[in-house]
Symmetry: C2
Subunit: 378 residues, 2 copies
Amino acid sequence: MKKVLKAYLPAGFKANGVACGLKRSGKPDLALLYSEYPALASAKFTTNSIIAAPLIVSKEYLKSNKAIRAVLVNSGNANCFTGKGGIKDAQASAGYAALELKVPKKSVLVNSTGIIGKRLDIAKIKKAIPELVSGLSCAGIQKAEKAIMTTDTFSKELTLSLKIGAKTVNICGIAKGAGMIAPDMATMLCFIMTDAKITKQALDKSLSAAVDKSFNCISVDGCMSTNDTVLVLANGKAGNKIISGGKNQKDFSKALELICLELAKMVVKDAEGATKFIQIDVAQAKNFHEARKAALNIANSALFKTAVFGENPNFGRVAAAVGASGLKINENQLKINLGSLKGKQVKLTVSLSQGKASATVYTSDLTPGYIKINAEYN
Amino acid sequence: MKKVLKAYLPAGFKANGVACGLKRSGKPDLALLYSEYPALASAKFTTNSIIAAPLIVSKEYLKSNKAIRAVLVNSGNANCFTGKGGIKDAQASAGYAALELKVPKKSVLVNSTGIIGKRLDIAKIKKAIPELVSGLSCAGIQKAEKAIMTTDTFSKELTLSLKIGAKTVNICGIAKGAGMIAPDMATMLCFIMTDAKITKQALDKSLSAAVDKSFNCISVDGCMSTNDTVLVLANGKAGNKIISGGKNQKDFSKALELICLELAKMVVKDAEGATKFIQIDVAQAKNFHEARKAALNIANSALFKTAVFGENPNFGRVAAAVGASGLKINENQLKINLGSLKGKQVKLTVSLSQGKASATVYTSDLTPGYIKINAEYN
């Protein structure tokens, strides 16, 4: 497997990003990801019961339409908690892009990120669509990455290539996210494009497994977003023997999980106000879910996160967080290795002495910088 | 009902507080609450599965012994995550106090608050016990209050008197707590003394109801402590007709709930680093538990709490927090009234349009001050 820390679009994909005026800063805020050929799609959305309008629309399109051609994404406005008008805005945006791209309306998915509760200014989006479409290119993925950012300080991108039989398959992922990051995803958008030929069932299965071990293993502030999305488009242009179980699917799954995990870790590294990247390994649990539960409870503990910020090796707060996770555990079973808190990378190992399963969760420290960003953001 | 914002011990109770050297600051850190007569006791403890040693010991004493005479409380050290040695320390401390007070060993309960994971220096406690016992007095309750404080900036006390038949019954409560405050209690100790004559069953029932609407409705940082305790001692010295159901119990319950609620609100007002006291009313819920769940999810949202700190009326974060609570709700049902965020008292009203139940939860904003206190605390 070859790994490149940059986005290179697989065969048959193009992208672009422009500034349409949704962000007051004038920075890029509208991105388009386009497949020249009908692509299979698999997606995971937020489990928040308040769901943003574009997700409602995209879910419907994914259900009624098996060939996806593009994804239109805006930043600067989440188009969430915006009622029926918000749904219409999302549909209209998709419609404008589809018209300009000359593809079926429901083959364009939509996504948004930014402030919640404000109607989207779709006149601005409509106006920018011709430029957005005419500028589509392979190199445009770098522009698209910038256009989906909110409080992110760097763009998150990764490309993998692997052999499926004699053919090379490419997988390219981009993501945004820095706050409102909790397990069960986050204000986190991730778009993955691959030229792999794969069955819908295999793609769904690979994505579920990958998300479970990556985006569902990170937390910045325990706040679950209304717009979380991980979407994979697979257009089959690599010409490989179709992936459907067996060794090929294992290899593809492994690559997809690696893309998701690396992007998830980038999100944590870019966490709002963070000064430390924290890895929490919980070992000797009864099963993966219990291990992850304990790890996430530590990751979401404001007291643990402030202790790490202060380089204050307060392992009692770790014990209290594990005990509060709902797991049945007694203190004699609990082994905590907090190590040094100096430096930018911190590792915590917790052993539960209950079994053989383990989980790793990534989080950041809680700092005055996080508060400043979120007290002022609007 | 008469309410006084100060602690006055009911008939038959005495108290004291001294500095025994557990706190490096030299401030008072050892308190004794004493009943001259055997008292009934009812208690609620943390639901954290890592439980501090003194709670394990007190639970056992409460089970095996129906007549309680005293409670020994230290601050500066939580005696938690301290293994079998911690249990022995707790038993020994209780034993020293019982010996000096000349009461049965298991009639003295113990409690601790402070840092987790360090053994208690019981030589210091042993040495201070004679002075602690000889100084017991009615006015000593003010000294006891100071000796149970950790990061608290003011002592929390309240006394109520009510008529039960022709007799006046007094209830006096003191509490400590400012951080590691979550529902299912908090690093929160509350001791309530009453001269009421009441059956064990009635006392238990009244306490459960009171805690559910008070200490289980506050949150500072969502961190559940290992030492949480609410304990009521009732010595019967008011000479009232024994309370056992009916109007008398209703009146007593109402008073107990008021004591618990006022003390709980004082804990939130003293929240570490807080600049705002936030009341969250959730109305039109299916039942109290769903209303409280929604309210607590808002109260525990770092994004909501930083928004309030920044006086940033971001109601989208409220919607996202309600949606993440696990309640089935759609956005058309959700009405949010955020009001003004200026001033020290902030009120948020959320209506779910699903039923007639409501709940009120109290919390504080999340500030750089909270981070400073907890980054440096040890």
